[in-house]
Subunit: 395 residues, 4 copies
């Protein structure tokens, strides 16, 4: 490590920095996962997650990465040969599609340019064309972590209803949940997929499915051969706070603490805080004379901002300079935008001064790396922060 | 919680108590899983696990419970309709078989009375009978956590070779690894399955496969449709210390620390320590006039000891008393021995005085619960400890 | 370190093992000691300590060891040439006397044989003899940590009153507070001295004075030249939760947590727990055929038990064996009983099974060290524990 | 707490933020302070502190705040009626003088305007006037924490030598040590006073004296009646790594870790890092159109920068806004500059981005509080950081 002193600025779009309270919670001694104390912990974690997903239906907690929860979503309701409709919002939507294909599902992919969220109109068109209702599920990424674009999930549901199509709505909100607004029940989502290391501010290691009654019913009658990811056994045993196999106890300690923190601030305040920091970040990018990858107004992410490098300049070389000189980690461009963009995470346990510090790291590293830009990004971000009330603090 | 003060005695056969060093390691701030610092961490963890499995072949680390690693073992080398030979050593062997069946594998189950490990002779017989070599794998549980019996894995390999059968040897050493001797390469194991929360002294949350070249080759040509559990992509990306999806970073911090601790003491010393404590525990059980479930000499586990309750007495009522009065968690009997046995874990971060304290909790709780027994178990255990040299301490 | 694995048994009479909850509290980030958050912390710590001392008068918290709080007690109310009456209960009473002399105070020392607490009758006699009321203070050690004898503080107050003597009553309850009963106001104590690393279960580093109005008044008119230890400035600034110089913030985090724990269990339950474990320990000593140093019935300590070695055997050699073989730290004999006794601490964060584990370490180490003894100490302790209800759990 | 999320910016001039590594070290379980493991810890801590003070003479570690180490310095070498020469660099120099007077020492105070460090010429003059050599010690504050001015300690020694005066040189480097250059032996200091919560990055709770042979000799023949602060007994017992009374074990864990960190970076790099950040801070202050309190070139502190408020504006009201809106703690003005200045700490575990974040908090809070200023302070600081090589990172 070059940097012995001073806090590392972990500004990737997840894992996000884990608050000290959560780290301390995680460092508690493990307990008997079949004893009475565990039952209380399990019930608390499961009930808490329902408040975060805003659902009164079921939530499943897996010891796995978010990728596992993707697979769980697919495996429980789809079987080999089933058709699904997916939307190419970026790298992660593409990975989910590839996973579906590996599992034998026929995925139709509505192409996208990676600069916006999903388009409900196109989804509606596709569904209308499927008059036989062969499409079993529509899969959308809520917050596309590779691009910083947000899909209008509620509008997707409206489009599905408008088309009168019975497909399930499956949403990847791995990086959206607990950072930007998500409403499982109100929006009519059937399966949501999430992970611990983003808005929930935990280390990576546990993941989630929220499951509607309709999806649970579908799982009973369909789905692939499955064991680890099977919802049914989970839901039954979860009723008393236990799990069918050994749960990641210490992560659950942290989860309960993180949920407490989110409610201490209030979810709406959390969401507003993210939006304000995101707007300040975009102000900085504009002031630098650079371009934000997401070019669809209203789709810009509150979680991260992806910045396009000027032609001929390597984003990865720039990021390496930022890390070396300023002890800040920025997100890399993935697959087709590799080395062409970098990503600034502004999610989770973050506040005004941390954001400004991070943006100053970007601004100074642009100079170090010889990337053409205007000065003044930090000043623009500060101007935005000063001129807008901080949620939960200012009136 | 009834007990505010005093250390809880977590004497279940896993999760085992996590050493403070490991808890502190886990509480380190998360880092960028794609940055240079992570690469070093990943390489260290992977190389370290090879020394624990005693293999120069591949080790896979999953963010999942051990149950996930079971599924990974099956999914990579077997496909629907494949035949496997399994051995009923107890509850966990049975669960593994059920999982295989859920996944469409045809499992032949050599019946057992749950009082010993697998019998290599019976395995040899079965394999000889399969002259068409249809059986794709032999699956054995190394240390059966539900009973406290150990299967002679090296002998199973010898039996397979004697039968001239090409099946893969797959071993569940979830609770055996790092507590009792296990030698992946030397014993000719093809796939080993393990977890973090036993001899490795971590919280639950990551799991392992060790994979032979032969198994990896089999996986290339066979196996189920799979994504999360797929070895191939893992092995490729692991080469530089990275993972195809977000790894459980904080657990890896702990893993590296735990492996350091195991080598500080020396694996042979670790194994000898476990055997000595196990023998002391059995001496206590005999002195109480109770019976150890494992009745096959040489198969008794160094990890846990399962004790049979006198007829007409509830093991669970006894365990509840032990927890309430003496702040000790004992393992329950599972499925067909439910309420008929209790299990004493003596694995991981444990020493002489902790064992005696634990055994005194058992002895006093037997009284509290009105279970007929002789006094003197603790004294017998102490006599054993005094009369046998402590590995690594006494000469 | 010889011992890589297994919990160390820290059975010295302080520092006592720090509960994980307290260690985590201490590991919180430091805050501005002049900011509003600190004020709340300070008020909580000060108010909490009053409940522990059972006083409505003032409590002072020093960043210092208990030795510093001894000096503070002397420096605030005595000046050079003043006479005090002290009682030789053991090593620590002797050290306090030496300190008084170093500071120029003329200490009269009622001799003792180190096998009991202070004798109120002798104190009364001495005070009656001082008809001129020249003696400014009577200094008594509540729980003598070097011997395991307890002085009857309430009786000392009664003796002073019977003698009609106006001296202040100053009590060292460094190792008594929060383990055995202590009642500052009810017992008419004027100055009490305590420390963090005993019944309060913190690491060493902060210490306490409880101060009566009478003592505070005396301090205004008397006392040595002093600055760091001065009560007056402390008391004034403490009113708002702040301190005249930088306080040991992280220790205060731990203090607040420890006080919460003590009240969760209830002070009376805490005291009863200590007495029961002490009685079990003495039962073990008797069964070994060894002698408890304290030979005055009713004076035996609930905090520690001092055991006399058989003639011709080295206590320190024995303790070294215990540490080496069984990973247990026992207290050494101090000054005139050096190498002749060892001390078993049974205070703070301790429960039945930890005590039995510790006693088994003593019993086995007696063998290792070739110390003549009977077996059966552990059995005797267990018999005591079984036959007496555990406070707060049984009944 | 208003702020649930995001890291608090603790930018007071001590306590400085404690690195996670140090917090984890402090959270280790306490050990027997008389056992062999402790001896090693004690030796390591004492030897380590010699490398920090740059001395081969003695270092004393007290469980106390820095104020205690002040008292220790005075009490060991001075007695009632002794004369000392002190220099009014600011609030803390004044407090030290008041303490000396409380202890009966006659302190002569060379007046200062709180805007620079000590003036060696004036000291030389005073000493020359003391032809009878009655002055026993010259007391100087190295880094005056209340003002941000540094005294040229080496020049003070030269002045004393030029005057041919035998007084001891006593230096308070509580906030200087381990942040800015200090050389005990080379500079001919006789007694240095320091604390844990500044450049050493520990929580408050332990303090230090470095002691020359000459001072130790003086202590043998002079000094006040003393016990807790007495050097002699300390030095003797420290030889084997132990302490005459219970040491603050957990703070020593942290100390050893912090010293390791300082040497990992290298002391010269640490000092250069502080100077660069201080210069950036002053650049910000100038750009705001505000004035730095220290107006003597070459005396500006690398540890903190004190900023004068424009006439008619309350520094404390401003600081309250900064805390409320931006979650940053700034230092208050003390005694005669109360409410007229605020202090920005930039010491210890700090890097470029944290500084910029902190300065942005100041800049935005100046607006919130309606304090007249120019924008551009943050930009000026960034310009400085970009234009100067980062020590240890850039070439």
């Amino acid at each position: 490590m070059t940097h012995v002193f001073g806090r590392h600025f972990l500004q990737i779009p997840g894992p996000s920095p884990v608050p000290d309270r959560v780290l301390r919670a995680i460092s508690q001694q493990v307990i008997d996962h079949r004893g009475p104390e565990f039952g209380e912990l399990g019930l608390k974690a499961l009930a808490g997650m329902k408040t975060i997903f805003k659902t009164q239906q079921d939530v499943i907690i897996y010891p796995s990465s978010g990728t596992g929860a993707w697979e769980a979503a697919l495996a429980n309701v789809l079987k080999e040969g089933d058709r699904v409709l997916m939307y190419e919002t970026g790298h992660f939507a593409t990975l989910w599609k590839k996973m579906a294909e590996k599992l034998g599902v026929r995925a139709e992919f509505i192409g996208g340019d990676w600069r916006s969220g999903a388009d409900p109109d196109q989804i509606e068109q596709h569904l209308r064309a499927d008059s036989a209702h062969e499409i079993k599920a529509v899969c959308v990424v809520h917050n596309e972590t590779s691009t910083g674009s947000v899909s209008p999930v509620a509008d997707v549901r409206r489009a599905m209803d408008a088309a009168g199509h019975p497909a399930l709505l499956m949403v990847d909100t791995i990086s959206g949940l607990a950072s930007i607004d998500f409403r499982f029940d109100e929006w009519g989502v059937d399966v949501a997929v999430s992970g611990s290391q983003k808005g929930l501010m935990l280390p990576p290691g546990i993941s989630f499915n929220a499951v509607s009654g309709k999806a649970l019913e579908a799982a009973r009658n369909n789905g692939m051969r499955r064991s680890y990811w099977d919802w049914q056994e989970m839901v039954e045993i979860n009723g008393k706070g236990y799990f069918p196999y050994t749960p990641a106890t210490n992560m659950l300690y942290g989860l309960v603490e993180a949920i407490d923190m989110l409610h201490e601030e209030g979810l709406d305040t959390v969401f507003a805080r993210h939006q304000r920091l995101a707007a300040a970040t975009r102000a900085a990018v504009r002031a630098w004379g650079l371009e934000v990858l997401c070019n669809r107004q209203g789709h810009e992410s509150g979680v991260l901002t992806t910045v396009m490098m000027p032609e001929g300049h390597s984003a990865d070389a720039f990021r390496a300079q930022a890390l070396r000189h300023y002890n800040i980690s920025l997100g890399s461009g993935l697959s087709k935008v590799a080395d062409k963009v970098f990503r600034i995470g502004h999610l989770g346990d973050i506040n005004d001064l941390t954001l400004v510090g991070a943006l100053s790291g970007v601004e100074m590293a642009l100079s170090k790396a010889g990337v053409p830009h205007e000065k003044g990004g930090v000043a623009a971000a500060m101007a935005h922060l000063e001129s807008t009330p901080a949620p939960g603090i200012d009136a």
